[in-house]
Amino acid sequence: MNLPAYLRSLAARFFHRSQVENDMEEELRSHIQHRADDLERSGLARAEAERRARIEFGGYAKWKEQSHQALGGNVIETLLQDLRFSLRVLRKSPGFALAAVLTLAVAIGANAVVFGILNALILRPLNVPQSESLYAIERGRDQAINHSYPDYLDLRDRNRSFDSLAAYDLAAAGLDTGKDLSSVWVQEVTGNYFDVLRTQPYLGRFFHASDEHGPNSAPYIVLPWAFWHSHFQDDRGVVGRVVQLNKHPFTILGVGPPGFRGNLLFLSPDFWVPIVNQEQIQGASILNARQNRTILMVLGHLRPGVTPAQAIADLNSIGAWLEKTYPKDDGQMTFSLTHPGLAGDWFGQPLQAFLMGMMLLAGLILLAACANLGSLFAARAADRSREVALRLALGSSRNRILRQVFTEAVLISLVGGVAGLAGSVVLLRALSVWQPLETAPIRVPVNPDAKVYLVALLLALASGFLFGAVPVRQILRTNPYEVVKSGSIVRVGRRMTVRDLLLVVQIAICAVLVTSSMVALRGLVRSLHSSFGFDPRNVMLVSADMTMGGYSGDKVPAMQRRVIDALAAIPGVKAVGSIDRPQLHYGANADTVFADKTTDLRPANAAAEPMMYRISPEYFTAAGTALLAGRALTWHDDKNSPRVAIVNREFAVKLFGSVTSAVGAYYKRSDGARIQVVGIVENGKYASLTEDPQPAMFLPIPQSPTSQATLIVRSNRTPQQLTAAIKSTMRDLDPGLPVDMCTWSQELNDAALFASRMATVSLGVMGALGAMLAITGIFGMAAYSVSKRLRELGIRVALGAQRKEVLQAALGRPLKLLVLGSAVGLILGLLATKVLAYIVYQATPRDPLVLAGVVLAMAFLGLLATWIPAQRALSVNPLILLREE
């Protein structure tokens, strides 16, 4: 039989009594008729004969059932029967069915979403050919992923383990297509980048290593397919077109293949340009600076037959050579390998830990849902004990009844699973097109694939069997005679039943979820109010990259000074300062410093590796950073005067012992320059909110020029008013300079708080789901216990019990279980917060507010869930109840 015909017959069998069934019925009837004929011949009346024949035949249903089994090949037949029966049963209690399906849909949905993200970011290989042999190189104990360009060249040319090595950096650039001016993210890549990744162009051609002939020799652009699609409307004529990048002409060479977005999973650059043109893009070139490690990543395919361990040994021998040859620049040149999709382990590992944690929580949700459904099923089985007993008495086997119960459970789990999966697919699709940050090209493609569907359905099936198994013991122990005789028995025992245990487990799990979301929420609130070392309120950040406007050399500081003066003149503006990269912005520059008496300036002798910022004199006033000692910088600290710096308290204590001894003291930078500390400022947060106090130094722009600048504009005007004023001022100064602005709080939200905000949101959702399950669980248990004991409650009321006593009798047990479960969950949740401390600022379990919050939340959930059952218990009318009996 071919498949469609088979399915049709299956459907026919599902909806009609089958041919086999009819055949069998007729045969058995024929037997009874024949027997009756014989009995009639022996003298009995026809009716009596038929009756006798039926009795002699024995349990008709039983034999039919066994005949069905004997026919075999009717597994599907039985399944369809069970399915039909289950549908009928579930249709009779739509409330139960809906609650069960919804509970499971939520749990499966949560799992599918988390797994979808995990799958997209961790499990799925990078979308390039042979991604399994593609590795990125990490350096030193900190597993830093950044390298310097000269080091990269040595690694590329001296290794014997990689096919070839590519490298890249990220930068923002001003794009002028002739129509409008916009700021774009470019990935500056080595000429061999596309060849190393083994991709082929969709249109035109890629640039290659052979296109590089020294600095600024390759003014070419390759567009990612998505950017070409969205910004050039699939125009095949773009190949060969010249656009202005930072006012330099660049030729568009080609378009990458669809789906290829470079080697970072969470970032989609707007352009690829050759790194040899770095000077045109970033205003300065670091291609010759060995100590300047701003190359974001070095990556390549291992040669066939080379193991990662062999490659690491090879790289380490190059590292030893580098340390010996360039003692001033290179220290700690030991290497390890990582996968290139997540920008190395420093980012990938916390992300992986977080996603694993989320997966665990989602698993707990599913477990709680199973416990919930398990107790629902157990309660239902108790209610249906009469039906089960009847079926047993009529000759049904226990096996068959169990199979039917499982069919019901699996049916619910599949429907719930499909519903949950559908919801999660919608959510994942939405996440994939979501661009969370305005200030960075971050986009995470988490589109679900077959693996996600499979996992969701398997989870659904597994949970169906899990909660279906709960009432098994109950059914196996059913004694049909007892039950039919006396009706279902309610034991009001003191013993902990399976159902009680399930409820405790479920509540404990929910309390864990609620606790962790509370801890995360507290952490977020605290990080919003912690001391950053600056005051982000009422500040507008204006980023104006001079390189994008075509300024270079000495023109840069002059223009910066003009911009600062012009902005400071806007009415309502209190102070304007400039910093190369705002604190808590993505990444930060750091440099090694040495004690003044150190003469051998190799990295191993460094006194500290402080954050390095280049600021204008008014920066601290504008940022609201407190000067603790010494003086502020002035515009007179320029090229012609001695080199000075302001350092933070941590720096002062680390190098000089105390704040007071630091003022006026000297230290050395890695280039040997002696620098005098003229002032000390308070500590702040520099790279992340969760960091320990870090040393930092602030250098005056005139003494260490930079083309990067973000202007800090503090004012008492609203952001809207200020934005317009700043725009017109900047246009007056230079209409060709691209300007981006946002409030500092917004910037912080985007950059620094993004991770903890995401963590809080996801934990919050998990907590909410957990709370929901707790409510339905307690509600189910309380409602069931009240309905089972209505008669007893009625008698109590009739005998003069007070409201309090009635409530205690009806709800004492669920509430006791609630308290027990919450306590267990609270303890487990507090233990789990250690994991949270990775991402959430000061996630501490010993926080009275969190403790109180959890207790209150669980109490509130308990109150909410038992409210309706309590009302029902209180409204018991003994007269009506007793009359009904």
């Binding site: 055949d23 069998m24 007729e26 045969e27 058995l28 024929s30 037997h31 008729q33 024949h34 027997r35 004929d37 002699e56 035949f57 024995g58 349990g59 008709y60 039983k62 034999w63 039919k64 066994q66 005949s67 089994q69 004997a70 026919l71 075999g72 090949g73």
Partner: protein, 113 residues
Amino acid sequence: MTEQAQLLPGTLDLLILKAVSLGPLHGYGVLLRIGQISGQALLIEQGALYPALFRLVRQGLLEADWGTSENNRRAKFYELTSTGRKRLREETEGWNRLATAIASALATRPEEI
């Protein structure tokens, strides 16, 4: 009716095969034939016949077809297939060996040891 013996497990299939081997029969006919050839000595629950019949059909030992009975009623008639015939021969030999062995074991007297 004389005192009837309970069937040993597994012997019902053998009896059905034997009964049908003597000529095509419907279900009730099988029951009557077994009664006849065993001298009414065996107790068979009427309904128990059918699971056994269906099992044998499924194993390919019997074939079934609808026909009309001697009472002029529609009934399903069973016939032995060639595999069924072979199986009957094997099972009969097996049973005979077993019966002989048990009979001789039970007939043993002390002096024969």
